[in-house]
């Protein structure tokens, strides 16, 4: 009894040491996928959010259908639909390309919802007061709306990005050679699933933690500084000054 427990818990580190380069390759590709999906998704999300907020219903309906589809279908089904669906329209591309597109579309939909919600949460009067004083729409967005939606949308964006990084593991199902795929390859070669998956777990955890630390540093530097000074009561401001915690 005692012996078998010891045997189950026994890890063979040589498996990981021998296949380390594959894991590094996989992790790098996961990072690259996440970076592309983050940047692309943010751009897509910002565009979709803006279009859905314009008072032009045909565009709005298209965007809302896209958002509803992306949020209502499991990611793996989206990936399969794009990967196996495009060839039937005569478009043949690598798994890496379809995988990146799927991840970007997926992240973009969630980012769009976050940005949309942040804008809609602002009092309508903020936009109206900027427009009525004679600011063109772009200037009103730049000077009045955007500065006010950044700090409230950072936490949900971080959350969503962490989910997206983890969901990228699903791309292994269409042979995108990212971290999970490499893990499966090593596992197939070594029959040492526990060693492999514990390594994967640690690497994914390290990536998402690193990202959330980055976001936390950003929030500390910018988010709270601009978000709080405007709303801080004079007493709180004085207290923070005494404590030397003030942002400025």
């Amino acid at each position: 009894m005692h012996r078998s427990v010891v045997k189950v818990m026994a890890l063979d580190p040589t498996v990981i040491l021998n296949y380390w380069p594959l894991l590094v390759d996989g992790a790098l590709l996961t990072l690259r996928l996440a970076a592309i999906a983050f940047v692309g998704g943010m751009l897509l999300g910002a565009v979709c959010a803006t279009l859905s907020l314009l008072n032009y219903w045909p565009v709005r309906i298209v965007i809302l259908v896209y958002l509803a589809l992306m949020r209502g279908i499991p990611f793996i089904v989206i990936v399969f639909l794009i990967h196996f669906g495009l060839p039937s329209f005569g478009i043949r591309t690598q798994a890496l390309v379809t995988g990146t597109v799927a991840l970007t579309l997926y992240a973009g939909a969630y980012y769009a919802e976050i940005i949309r919600a942040a804008v809609l949460a602002l009092p309508r009067g903020q936009w109206e007061s900027a427009r009525v004083i004679g600011m063109p729409p772009i200037a009103a967005a730049r000077h009045v709306i955007i500065p006010q939606i950044i700090s409230p949308s950072v936490p949900p964006i971080v959350n969503c990005t962490m989910t997206m990084i983890k969901e990228s593991s699903i791309l292994s199902a269409i042979t995108v050679a990212e971290l999970t795929y490499q893990g499966l390859v090593i596992q197939g070669n070594t029959f040492a699933p526990f060693e492999v998956f514990i390594s994967l777990a640690l690497i994914y955890w390290a990536i998402t933690i690193a990202f959330s630390l980055l976001a936390w540093a950003y929030e500390r530097r910018f988010g709270t500084a601009s978000g709080r000074t405007s709303r801080m009561s004079p007493i709180a401001a004085r207290y923070l000054d005494i404590e030397g915690k003030s942002g400025r």
Binding site: G125, E128, S129, V132, I133, P136, S230
Partner: protein, 273 residues
């Protein structure tokens, strides 16, 4: 001295479905006049201000601000021309609107609240805008809060900042949407004094208000609106005491019944004896 009216609205109509929120309103406000607009809730006062500033463009009718068409233009030959958005934005700067909820921008300092639009919309340099803003802040006696944020100042100061922000664009006319309704009772007097000062400095104003004291003491002219129609228009004393229209009478009878002091000031002398 500028000639012509500061603001002219011709046959404005705004519909919400079947309902006409604004029903053929004609309004002409000469320079320097202080007009107060009263009426029961939901009568279209706020909608009228939103139409006049094109936040809610009217369905029909024409608006002229300082001699320029806002939105729709009626050409000499009778043809209606729709001006571009850019043109509308430019003419809008000639109207200052002080919202009921003020809508100051909380992420910008008081100074930036006042300067941003000047720099963007009027193309003033940063220094020019600052100098102009400081002058206005001093005039409104809040020079010391230029670097504070809207969340750090009192309600009365916020009101002044909102007024300064609108005035910084050198508008032809200032519109106020119930400037006292969101304030503590003790601040109401302060804001009314401020409006009085602005009025005596020659500012053209249209004030939607429930404060009949303001309408009586400060305004040159009183408009009474109900169901989107301007029912009475004239000198405040005359409208309050001598209107023939039953609906207007009923309204002022109800309002004055709650303000004995107010009645003492307005009732014709013979009723005192």
């Amino acid at each position: 001295m500028k000639t012509g009216p500061a603001l002219r609205a011709t046959r404005l109509i705004r519909r919400f479905g079947e309902l006409k929120a604004i029903d053929e309103v004609y309004l002409e406000i000469p320079y320097g006049q202080v007009v107060s607009l009263v009426g029961p809730s939901g009568c279209g006062k706020s909608t009228l201000l939103r139409c006049l500033t094109h936040l809610d463009p009217p369905d029909e009718g024409f608006i002229e601000v300082g001699g320029e068409w806002l939105g729709r233009a009626l050409m000499r030959n009778g043809i209606v021309k729709h001006n571009s958005r850019r043109h509308t934005d430019r003419v809008r700067r000639k109207i200052g609107l002080v919202f009921q909820s003020l809508n100051l921008w909380p992420h910008l300092s008081v100074m930036d609240n006042i300067c941003t639009a000047q720099c963007i919309a009027l193309g003033r340099s940063r220094d020019e805008a600052r100098a102009h803003a400081l002058e206005l802040l001093d005039r409104l006696r809040i020079g010391e809060i230029a670097d504070a944020y809207p969340g750090q100042i009192s309600g009365g100061q916020q009101q002044r900042v909102a007024i300064a922000r609108a005035m910084a664009m050198n508008p032809e006319i200032l519109l106020f949407d119930e400037p006292t309704s969101a304030l503590d009772p003790e601040l109401v007097g302060e804001v009314l004094r401020l409006l009085k000062e602005l009025a005596s400095s020659g500012m053209t104003m249209l004030v939607v208000t429930h404060e009949l004291a303001f309408a009586r003491d400060v305004a040159d002219r009183l408009l009474f609106m109900e169901r989107g129609i301007i029912l009475a228009d004239g000198a405040p004393q005359d409208v309050i005491t001598q209107t023939a229209d039953r609906r207007v009478r009923d309204f002022f009878d109800k309002v004055t019944a709650f303000h004995p002091k107010f009645m003492a000031g307005t009732k014709p002398k013979e009723e005192h004896s």
